[in-house]
Amino acid sequence: MNKKFILGIYDDEDVLLTAIENIRAGGTKIYDVFSPFPVHGIDDVLGIKRSRLPIVAFFAGLTGMSFALWMQIWMMGFDWPMIIGGKPHIALPSFIPVTFELTVLFSAFGMVITFFIVSKLKPSMKVNVFDKRSTDDKFVMAIEVKEGETDVAALNDLLRSNGAIEVNEKEVVK
């Protein structure tokens, strides 16, 4: 199914930020904004909620810590007890470095894998570039056109009155 988008092209980030605010305040839903560099405060004006990735990191880290401790206690204490350096079989201080490393490893991998899954990022992914200039020196604001609902002419005026230097239409093949 094809989707149609109206693209507002901006060349100034301050104008863009006010435009986003005004357009969203007017009740128009913005599909996404593409920018060549991270713009401070754009998450807030776009109403993007904070990422929940840190929660994943915490629980992945907790898993890694538990796994490391369980592994070492089971191996060194029960499966094949060995006396090393005259220490008890289960000598916690000597387990700490491995525990630390596995905690970091699990939380890092957990975050990366979760990020790939959530953002559906995979080698076969097809990326629709709305306007190639958004990788150079322009900001591109995409608004989805719903057949029969969206008034394209009004949207055009709205974008232009909010500082868009150009308004284009683009059809995206899903």
Binding site: H40, G41, R50, G85, K87, P93, P97
Partner: protein, 416 residues
């Protein structure tokens, strides 16, 4: 940008004086109590003479002085780091750190006096008989260290450290205050050069000062991690002190332009360096514990099972208060942006690291006679009161906002 001048009311000053007065009263009560024989009831070990009240007093003075001097010194260190890193975010809170070092001259005086009068009580190595080969008590190990550990060189080092620290603190302060008056970027560039030199000096002196003032208490023992360890403890306490002061000033209507973003960065600093301290702590502990060599592991034995095990609870509380608590509480972003959370954690860290220094000094000096009594609380209160008097006086000396700092604008719009 407008100037912001801190006004310390008579009422606030009286509170500090009251703190000192209460401390003195507790101290006197504690001394009378001990002199009358009430406080020294654990002399049960054969041939063990309980430590006198004067020894306990000197050790406490030393403990608090090293702790507060460290925090004062961190003020200058923090500012120097910000200059050298070309940091923009911290401009609004720089003056708080710069005022911490007003305690340094007091710390220098107290340290000199305590060493001259109580040196024998604190440092075993100061006794002449250890170096006399004809004496029964001759100690070849300590005698072998006499090239470095001797009273004259110790005093020279102490004077040099303080002279350098105070000189550089005053120099940075002078540049900052002149910048307020005259503007321009010359003062800023000059401050960067001063800071760079100071950081080199600090890197060496903070380490050697830690050996002199803390490590040499346990004269036979040695640790290559020790300079780092004391630095880490000072650094995280200093960061906690800066954060806490910023919050208190903000809650009293000052530092209007400081917002959650600046607190967030301070919170990250406190969070990160409480982990750093733990890393150093563990790096030191693990190797000694693992190798288990008597002359090395004695340090930890004294703090765990030795001395009737009386230090064991502090040993573990140290890790819980200074690592587990800040780690779990400050982990989320929201916690680092909330004043109440930061306040709880920084106060815990400040108390926790006082106990960290307590644990470094008491087992080597008072052994089984240490405790937490009137003398400990009294001395700590007196020092806190004096420190706050010097610190707040320093804060009133100039505008809280460095009005002509080239990165002020960046700091005002700081966003994380």
């Amino acid at each position: 940008m407008t100037e912001e001048r801190l006004i310390i009311s008579r009422k606030t000053n009286n509170k500090f004086f009251l703190m000192i007065a209460v401390g003195v009263v507790l101290l006197i009560a504690g001394i009378i109590f001990m002199a009358a024989g009430g406080g020294a009831g654990h002399g049960e070990a054969a041939g063990h003479e309980p430590a006198s009240w004067s020894k306990r007093l000197f050790v406490n003075l030393w403990l608090n002085n090293v702790y507060f001097t460290g925090i004062a010194l961190i003020g200058t260190f923090f500012v120097a780091v910000q200059y050298v890193a070309y940091a923009g975010w911290s401009v609004l809170i720089k003056r708080v750190a710069l005022a911490l070092n007003y305690f340094l001259p007091i710390g220098a005086g107290v340290m000199l006096i305590v060493f001259l009068f109580g040196g024998h009580d604190i440092f075993h190595w100061t006794h002449d008989y250890l170096y006399d080969i004809n004496d029964d008590r001759y100690d070849p190990i300590i005698a072998g260290k006499s090239g470095y550990l001797n009273t004259a060189f110790f005093l020279i080092r102490m004077v040099v450290y303080f002279a350098l620290w105070i000189w550089f603190s005053m120099w940075l302060r002078k540049e900052a205050f002149n910048e307020d008056l005259n503007g321009g970027t010359n003062y800023y560039h000059k401050s960067i050069r001063i800071s760079a030199i100071f950081l080199v000096i600090f890197g060496i002196t903070s380490s050697t000062a830690a050996w002199d003032w803390v490590l040499s208490i346990d004269t036979h023992w040695f640790s290559t991690m020790f300079g780092w360890y004391v630095f880490a403890s000072w650094w995280v306490s200093g960061l906690a002190a800066i954060t806490l002061t910023v919050i208190i000033l903000k809650q009293n209507g000052y530092l209007k332009m400081v917002n959650a973003n600046h607190l967030h960065d301070l919170g990250k600093f406190v969070f990160a360096f409480s982990i750093f301290w733990t890393y150093i702590w563990f790096s030191q502990f693990l190797l000694y514990w693992y190798a288990n060599m008597p002359e090395e592991v004695i340090y930890f034995t004294e703090r765990l099972s030795g001395n009737n095990g009386q230090y064991a609870w502090i040993f573990f509380a140290n890790l819980i208060v200074n690592f587990v608590f800040p780690f779990l509480v400050l982990m989320t972003r929201d916690a680092k942006r909330q004043m109440i959370m930061l306040k709880i954690v920084t106060i815990a860290i400040l108390i926790g690291h006082w106990f960290d220094f307590y644990l470094m000094m008491m087992p080597g000096t008072l052994r089984t006679d240490a405790g937490i009594g009137f003398i400990e609380i009294g001395t700590a209160l007196v020092f806190l009161g004096v420190f706050l008097l010097a610190f707040t006086k320093g804060l009133t000396k100039a505008s809280l906002v460095p009005v002509n700092h080239p990165f002020l604008e960046e700091s005002v719009h700081h966003h994380v």
